[in-house]
């Protein structure tokens, strides 16, 4: 017998996780649908996930190394990593937070776990980021950077940043349903975070007295973890910072899924 009960805030993460696990086939279908509709119509198809970072790296090389004469030859790689990680976070949040509103027609036609709509965005960004990062070993080989065991931090950072974005989008999508202005606030916040998260500058450019504060921002810390993983330079990253980042991602996910599961049913009425 199926009885309607309103879940408590604390059970939210478990309900969300179970629901995604139970409906993983539908989720994979949705992600494949999005990949097919995003890249299927192009002649170069999935190659665009690689061509985009290659193109940006070339632009940064021309601007910073050739035109500005910056001696740091790793700067284009550092910026490319920053942009890839940040744009994965930004797209997960901006697209995920509007998923309920954009899919209101579907939500009112058929019942399915609505967190799948958000998980679809996050999984799509995870696949896209993973495909884009294929450029990293190629670039490392070109620059003569050896691949070391610290490269194992790269998947940790990738999963961590997507989980952080997913958690944010879970509670933001409820706010967007009730107050549409939230999309503008998200948009402005994401633009501000772009400049505050060290996308265009690495931790080496931050004065030492501010470095601790800079790395309290989990997005900045994840970007630095990626750079450390690729360059095998752990001078700015400690196990404590990595643990803190993962902990923050899990905490934001727990809060987001708690809020989502508690308030999604009322939000649907407002769609």
């Amino acid at each position: 017998m199926d009885t309607f009960t309103r879940p408590s805030l604390f059970r939210g993460p478990f309900i969300s996780f179970q629901s995604i696990l139970k409906n993983r086939t539908l989720l994979s279908l949705m992600v494949r649908r999005d990949l097919k509709t995003t890249y299927g119509d192009y002649y170069l198809g999935y190659a665009w996930t690689l061509l985009e970072p290659i193109f940006f790296t070339l632009v940064f090389y021309v601007v910073f190394i050739i035109l500005r004469g910056n001696p740091d030859r790793l700067l284009p790689l550092n910026i490319m990593l920053g942009i890839l990680i940040y744009s994965a976070f930004s797209k997960t949040v901006s697209q995920g937070s509007t998923q309920l509103v954009r899919n209101s027609g579907l939500i009112r036609q058929v019942y399915f776990p609505r967190e799948l709509l958000l998980a679809n965005v996050s999984a799509f960004q995870l696949v896209r980021l993973s495909l884009s990062l294929i450029i990293v070993p190629i670039y490392m080989a070109y620059m003569g950077i050896p691949i070391t065991s610290s490269i194992l931090l790269l998947p940790v950072a990738v999963f961590g940043i997507i989980l952080l974005g997913h958690g944010c989008s879970l509670f933001l999508c409820i706010a967007v349903v009730h107050v549409r202005d939230t999309t503008m606030i998200i948009d402005i916040s994401l633009r501000a975070l772009f400049f505050l998260s060290g996308v265009f500058y690495s931790a080496a450019y931050i004065p030492e007295e501010y470095l601790g504060y800079h790395l309290l921002n989990p997005i900045a810390a994840y970007i630095e973890i990626c750079r450390a993983a690729v360059l095998n330079d752990l001078s700015y990253i400690s196990p404590l910072i990595i643990a803190r980042c993962i902990g923050m991602s899990l905490l934001i996910y727990a809060i987001g899924s708690g809020v989502f599961n508690r308030y999604q049913n009322r939000a649907v009425i407002h769609l």
Binding site: D2, F4, G40, V110, Y111, V268, L271
Partner: protein, 250 residues
Amino acid sequence: MKTNTAIELKEVFLSYPKERNTSPSIKNIFSLKRRIHNEHQSTLSNLSLTIEKGEIVGVLGHNGAGKSTLLRLLSRIYFPDKGEVHLKGSVTLLAALGTGFQKDLSGRDNIVLSGALHGIEIEKIKSLIPSIILFSGLEKVIDKPLRTYSSGMRARLGFSVIAHLDADILLFDEVFAVGDSSFRSRSKKRILEMVEGDTTVVIVTHNEQLIRDLCTRVICLDDGELMIDTKDTEEGIRQYHRSSNQKDES
């Protein structure tokens, strides 16, 4: 809940905000005027209803009476503000044709996606694909993108998918009249097949003949309240007309 009961609603209340489908903004949230006027309007009010397993219930009512809201509540799309809802068995709502269809995917891919959204196991959908394609009569174009289909072809494909859904409780919301006359007659035959046996069915329709042909019970909603509930379908339809006429006169 008794063992033979499929659906049980106890004193259910559900309200919509009055300014539904508008975009609330920060300005409106702090507006006193909006706070006063945007009260919630009751859509289902103190609704108690028990439907036995195998019953075929026709739901009548004016536009805005709460018929579709009732089906959405039973299919878990909506959640009651107050009261209890108990369901026994799997539930499928057939409210729209082409649920989840994506114009850039082929007809075949859309069958899989739409079926999965309705909760069918992927292996089962794959086994149903030949039958769905045959029923739709779209064999020649099934691998072409949906954007190349006419609206009639899309509706036929959509109906063919939902005509193959299976559940213990089926909820129909005005999805009967699609396609040409031959397709409509096949659709009606298929619906009759779906509702036979011990499947519990709730049908929202303005087609009174369909209610006479299919239903074993009629209920009528008015402003979210249960006004008529009878197993004599002809008498139920008559009472509905009488109350409609009285309402029109007043």
